[in-house]
């Protein structure tokens, strides 16, 4: 048996760096079966503890090995409402695959790749899951935010028999899947199809509904007759560095840059009405997944030089190794141990340079990583015309500000117990709004847990109401 994963075909770097088509192309039937044969079908299945939604990994892999691909996807879908998405964007190396026994001596089984294969196989054949809904809904639940947390709670509750309405502020559901993660990593058509399937379960999605503005949570619970509310509003508030020059033309938050390109399709301008300014020389500040996405997007929009500017060293970069590798292959240049101090503008108010200072690593800080300290008199100017800030996001305060009795921590994240219960009766929360920016599958896991807690809450409440009659 091979000690490494079967390779997934990819578009060549020199071609893909200029198009928005998907980079990774997926396994064919034969490769999928071969990769599935690498799984030892462990009785204890340690891989499962790494999956926040608890997919029965050996069971679905066994179906693939046996060539029963539809059985594989049916198995996955009992736990995961969005498998084609997770198979693509889960950081598997930190989740399921991290615990895989095969990985002890070589590379783990390509669980994510196999999940993607099964989901794509079913999608290509238009295969849908069967659901039988109870004639009388068990209750009415409102979900705020159509990101992975909200969608996963919605799917589970619908399958249990609830009437579910999802309220989404933007014009398209999907959250970061739609506006943040680029087309070349996660085609939007796939997101649309997986959401379509949720609608077929009876989930109603109301777009253009900004909760806190269009409705408040209290109105949903009282006037609109919802039994419970789940808040999955994500970590959408972009951080800036607070350095001089940040309001010059040509400075973006990664959120804005990516939203213009992904959600608004600015790469098709003027056919699509939203413009984006990519520039010729682009500095992306930060080194997480968001930074890699912004850098690779800038390349595809035609930038000649794209730099990742990061104050720590390669080792501390928070992005997935695979994303860093892809960015390097495509020609993104890394300026590490470098920290921006000022953005320089021209007389018309446009960016013309990024003044940086070189850094060295000192003593470890609270995070355990060695703290970068500036080297005196090492300033230099990076000649760029666009600067994209990808240094993290906080919680959007709209819902918290308009919901009395909802407890938040000092960062503004909603506080919950481990089942997703907030301080306010009938209100649950999960995903990035609770944890801060994390991952798609963690948000989905939180949505799933909350769905179970909501079910229990609503049924107890109804029982109480019946008993007191």
């Amino acid at each position: 048996m091979s000690s490494i994963k079967h390779k997934m075909p990819e578009q060549q770097p020199e071609i893909r760096r200029r198009n928005f088509d998907e980079v990774a192309l997926g396994y064919d039937d034969t490769t999928a079966k071969a990769e599935a044969s690498r799984c030892l079908q462990c009785k204890t299945a340690p891989c499962r503890q790494g999956c926040p939604v608890g997919i029965n990994i050996p069971a679905f892999i066994k179906h693939i090995r046996e060539g029963d691909f539809t059985a594989a996807i049916d198995e996955i879908k009992t736990k995961n409402n969005l498998p084609a998405i997770c198979g693509r964007v889960c950081p598997q190396e930190d989740q399921c695959e991290k615990f895989c026994v095969v990985g002890k001596k070589g590379e783990p089984v390509g669980i994510g790749r196999l999940e993607r294969f099964a989901a794509d196989y079913a999608r290509a054949r238009g295969r849908k899951q069967k659901v039988i809904l109870p004639p009388e809904p068990l209750g009415k639940v409102a979900i705020i935010g159509a990101g992975p947390a909200g969608l996963s709670a919605a799917g589970d509750l619908a399958r249990m028999g609830y009437k579910v309405t999802v309220f989404e502020a933007l014009h398209a559901p999907g959250g970061v899947l739609m506006y943040g993660i680029p087309e070349f990593r996660l085609p939007k058509e796939i997101v649309r199809q997986e959401i379509e399937e949720l609608k077929e379960l009876g989930v109603e999605i109301v777009v253009n509904a900004v909760i806190g503005k269009t409705f408040t949570i209290d109105e949903l619970l009282t006037e609109e007759g919802f039994d419970a509310v789940f808040i999955g509003t994500g970590a959408g508030l972009p951080h800036f560095m607070d350095i001089p020059g940040e309001n010059l033309n040509g400075v973006y938050s990664a959120n804005e840059f990516l939203t213009r390109v992904n959600l608004m399709k600015a790469y098709k301008f003027p056919e699509a009405g939203t413009p984006v300014h990519a520039g010729k020389r682009v500095a992306v500040v930060g080194a997480g997944n968001v930074a890699m996405d912004a850098a690779r997007t800038a390349l595809r929009l035609g930038a000649e030089n794209v730099y990742i500017v990061y104050r720590r060293s390669e080792e501390e970069m928070p992005a997935r190794a695979e994303e860093i590798e892809h960015a390097k292959e495509e020609g993104v240049e890394f300026r590490l141990l470098t920290n921006p101090v000022r953005i320089i503008g021209d007389e018309r108010g446009w960016v013309k340079g990024l003044e940086c200072i070189r850094m060295e690593l000192g003593e470890p800080d609270e995070s355990g990583r060695r703290k970068p300290v500036p080297i005196a008199n090492s300033n230099f100017v990076l000649d760029v015309d666009t600067v994209i800030m990808a240094i993290g996001q906080g919680p959007n305060p709209l819902v918290q500000q308009t919901t009395p009795g909802l407890a938040v921590n000092k960062r503004g994240n909603i506080t919950t117990d481990e089942t997703g219960r907030t301080s306010k009766e009938g209100v649950f929360a999960g995903g990035d709004i609770v944890t801060g920016a994390a991952t798609v599958i963690q948000a989905m896991g939180a949505g799933k847990k909350a769905a179970a807690a909501i079910h229990e809450y609503v049924q107890n409440k109804r029982k109480g109401a019946r008993n007191s009659q």
Binding site: A169, L170, H171, Y179, V207, N208, A209, V210, K213, T214, F215, G236, L237, P238, F240, D242, E246, N247, L248, N249, G250, Y252, S253, N255, E256, T259, R260, M264, K265, K268, F269, P270, E271, A272, G273, T274, P275, H277, R348, G349, N396, P397, L398
Partner: protein, 278 residues
């Protein structure tokens, strides 16, 4: 879909729509705005809610055709529908009885000033309004403003209606004459709001302006609408759109509004010669 029930031309290239939007009409307050998208390829643009009828479930939008999207909007007729309409967005105007309030509206800015002035009036204020435009043809909502103002001044750049001059002229005179003014609310082109701020600053009269930076989501997610106010960055869509005029960095706002000029020109295929790009 949000159906356009009524269309009216208020001035050349200024149009009024009454749009079916019951959820927004139910909640909106003076000072708030919506973000709309005409169709699948459309961009998201903000427009102020110029009026609303809660019982009928409608809102009124008044817009000036300045570029691609507002022109496309202008070509729609009653019976057509907008694909997306989100709102009400932004903070509502703080309305209470201040005493004497001067409401200044320049050009298309009269549209957002109108519901605010009306609310000040309903709250028991003395409302002095100053509305202006380049010429008589471009002046909008004169009757409406007259109906809710104790005093109404009209100015035009060319003198074709009311006084020849700028909207700040009557304001300057009132202040110089020592008239007691408790609050000034000014909405219009940034350059106008900036000059109003400069006029009231020496007198220490509290002055509010409604800012119109380029927006995308309107929910605080992109940061594109950031404006420096009191040397701190504010997101106009959620922290505003109204701010203390004496703290706003108007020059920064004007520069940022031009960010896409070269793109907007390309999109028009007019070479940038049309009136909106002068």
């Amino acid at each position: 879909m949000f159906t356009i029930l009524k269309k009216q031309e208020l001035a050349p290239s200024v149009k009024l729509f009454v749009v079916q939007a019951p959820l927004i009409a139910r909640k909106c307050q003076p000072g708030q705005f919506v973000i709309l998208r005409i169709d699948e390829n459309g961009e998201r643009i903000p427009l102020t809610i110029a009026d609303f009828d809660r019982a009928a479930g409608t809102i009124t939008l008044i817009f000036q055709e300045v570029g691609h999207t507002t022109r496309q909007l202008g070509r729609l007729s009653a019976g057509d529908a907008l694909l997306d309409l989100a709102g009400p967005l932004g903070k509502a105007t703080h309305i209470e009885k201040f005493g004497t309030v001067v409401c200044v509206g320049g050009g298309i800015g009269v549209a957002p000033v109108y519901p605010i002035a009306r609310a000040y009036k309903e709250a028991g204020n003395k409302v002095i309004s100053i509305i202006g435009a380049r010429n008589a043809d471009l002046l909008i909502l004169e009757q409406e403003m007259a109906a809710i103002s104790d005093v109404l001044y009209i100015t035009t750049d060319d003198g074709s209606k009311g006084r020849k001059g700028l909207v700040i002229d009557p304001l300057k005179e009132m202040l110089a004459a020592g008239e007691k003014i408790d609050l000034v609310m000014a909405i219009g082109p940034v350059i106008m709001m900036k000059s109003v701020a400069e006029v009231t600053r020496p007198y220490g009269v509290h002055t509010i302006v409604s800012l119109n930076p380029i927006m995308v989501d309107g929910t605080g997610m992109c940061g594109g609408c950031r404006v420096s106010v009191g040397n701190k960055n504010k997101f106009a869509c959620v922290d505003g759109p109204e701010f203390n005029a004496h703290e706003v960095d108007f020059d920064g706002l004007m520069a940022r509004q031009k960010m896409y000029h070269s793109y907007e020109r390309r999109e028009h295929r007019c070479g940038g010669d049309c009136s909106c790009h002068r």
